[in-house]
Amino acid sequence: MFVYKSLAHPELVGNYVQPFTLDERLTHARQAVKKLGATIPWIVDPMDNRLKHALGDRANSEYIIDPTGTIVRKRAWSDPVAVRRDLEDLVGQVAKVTKPEDLGLPVVLTTAEPATNVEVARVSRLGMFPLIAQPKIAQGGMPFYVKLRCEAELTVIDDGKGKLYLGFHLDPFYQVHWNNLSKPLRFEFEVPDEIRLSETSGEAPRVKAESDVNPREFLIDVAQWPEDKPIRLTVTYFACTENDCREVTQVYEVHRRRDADGGAAPGAAFRGLTSEAMLKLLLSGDKNDDGQLTRSELNSVQRPRFADFDINADGILDKNELQKLADRTNAQALRDF
């Protein structure tokens, strides 16, 4: 049974962002079931992440429960080989061992490409961690077509001083885009006197292309932010489809607290990753220890990008290609994952 939970890596592939509502999380789960062609049962953790919290708060943990409801195995990270071994111990061997490739499952996730290939300046988030940004969801109100991702340096979380990241990301499930002929996204903070920010409002820069789906990002300097004082943020934007644009105003309450369920977005929270460490991580998928990676040795998130990494197109990521990839240990390289 698969337990669908909050995203571990929002924005990684397909520009998926953390859902705000149970309906949105259920949609995520159904999308995953459909994409994978899965036939096993799935359960979905409610929005308070109670099952994840109750079972140790890991992204990809695994438990085996016996017929009495007792935990008989647990591990922090799913390991299909170990699970098979466990089940053979617990219930016996199967006549035919089914391998992943026998299932013929489609494991390529959709990548949402910008409606138009335009350059929109991105903001560096290295070393930042997600903050709790509670959307004020009104009964019967419009969906959050655009979702705020709020991150901050640890100095903000610990001492109330440092850089604050605001990223307004289009939720790909709503299939809307920015219409750049409309007014750009605008946000405004309501800050009490005790809070000092470099800016209390902002407007996304104009983009030349008529439309795109890139996030609108801002970096704010925080000079003072008491821990017990949330900041109210109001954002106004136009969510557009091919035929329609609607003006949306929505409100968040941003807390100076780390969101332990926020996941790690690419380019964030990986500060200090050296080229050597990156190479080691890449080679952790090297099943036959030959110092090279084949397509099958990449995980399914990396696999769609195999051709980009395989510079000489020989079907193998050799030492030279892996080193080049590892050397790109900057925000863009991490985003590529």
């Binding site: 929002p10 899965a38 943990s61 695994e62 299909p80 089940l87 499952l105």
Partner: protein
């Protein structure tokens, strides 16, 4: 049962070996295994949902072996 055995194999799409196998995580992994609920404890009884939005009780996971694997779209 076969379906259950296949479970771990099917869901490797969320397995990111880059995190799973780094030495820095080993202690975290060991701590996780020791932490509550540990092997021998009962599965917490909680109300969750099926993928089509129907309520589902973890207490109903009785009578057979079940593999629970956590994961997400990305």
């Amino acid at each position: 049962m076969r379906c259950v055995i296949l479970l771990g194999l099917v869901l490797v799409f969320v397995s990111l070996p880059m995190e799973a196998r780094s030495q820095g995580n080993q202690k975290k992994f060991d701590d996780f295994v020791k932490a509550s609920p540990a092997v021998g404890d009962s599965l917490p009884e909680l109300s969750v949902f099926t993928s089509d939005g129907k309520p589902f009780q973890t207490a109903d996971l009785h009578g057979h072996y079940t593999v629970l694997t956590f994961g997400c779209l990305t």
